[in-house]
Subunit: 126 residues, 3 copies
């Protein structure tokens, strides 16, 4: 059910981008217990003039390898599960494709269960 939008600067390889998508999915499996195969990810690349970020907000040192990850998911997770998700994403991306944890920004948007159709015009979760 999560729909994931990954935004980053232009210039990375398709393998690099695919690795991000893979590990966000694996982290959602672990921390949010999303079902097997529940994987829908869009990746957008930006020129520098269109990818604007603070290099220091909250004392976190960001650079052009920053990845912004916006996840739309059901509103059924606890604060602890959300914290576990952020930790799992940052830890996994540090290993593959090798992103500094300070360069991982995550935004979670929550919706009701009946707010999805996964095909056939049916609300599969309602």
């Amino acid at each position: 059910m999560p729909l994931v939008r990954i935004s980053l600067r232009k210039g990375k390889t398709p393998d690099y981008r695919r690795a991000i998508a893979k590990h966000v999915y694996e982290a959602l499996r672990e921390a949010f217990k999303v079902p097997d195969e529940d994987r829908f990810v869009l990746i957008d690349e930006y020129e520098g003039s269109d990818f604007i970020y603070s290099p220091s907000y909250l004392g976190v040192t960001r650079d052009d390898d920053l990845v912004m990850i916006q996840i739309t998911a059901n509103n059924t997770r606890t604060v602890d599960q959300k914290k576990a998700l952020y930790a799992a994403i940052a830890e996994r991306l540090a290993k593959d494709p090798g992103i500094r944890p300070e360069n991982v920004l995550i935004s979670l948007v929550e919706v009701a269960k009946e707010n999805w159709s996964f095909g056939n015009g049916v609300a599969q979760y309602a």
Copy 2:
């Protein structure tokens, strides 16, 4: 009021993409009773490496003609209206531009009425 983001693989014609936008709007008119002319749609095309989906999640058979439709709308609709919206979108897109209903994924994000400005710096619905 809905803001619609349509995401699909590169390679379709402008007419094909415009047909999707048109029918999502018509379905919103029917099922959500949005006002006449309340039409705001952004369409994003993706390379295969940046458009990642499960070909089988929930037993639905998807392929590269998949369209992901994310709709931000007011939080005033019933579950039945949401179900009617999904059905109307899938049915309309099957006819024009001819998309298999299994290839229609819909994500609905709900917001409060005062969360919109349609111009002039005014919250027209508040």
Copy 3:
């Protein structure tokens, strides 16, 4: 904390686009009291066939200079603060880069405070 997505027609200069980002941030500082340096903005440009809008909805006269601004922010603001935000954005963009207030569309998506990680896999606001 806000994550801002700015969508507009192709053809404007990087300076023009950066001015929009700057003034949305300044308006968020003023009206929403977001912290200094809390600035994260993505800008997407569209061909006409993929940027669909009503030129007249609610009696507002829009043209191809329309800018759609979608802001994800914490759910802690009053209706008056939201109204102040819309007014501040429209007023600022009218001055720089010079956008008619009728061409400023704003959509606000609200989330819980624990729905953000600004780096290091930590939920900084939770």
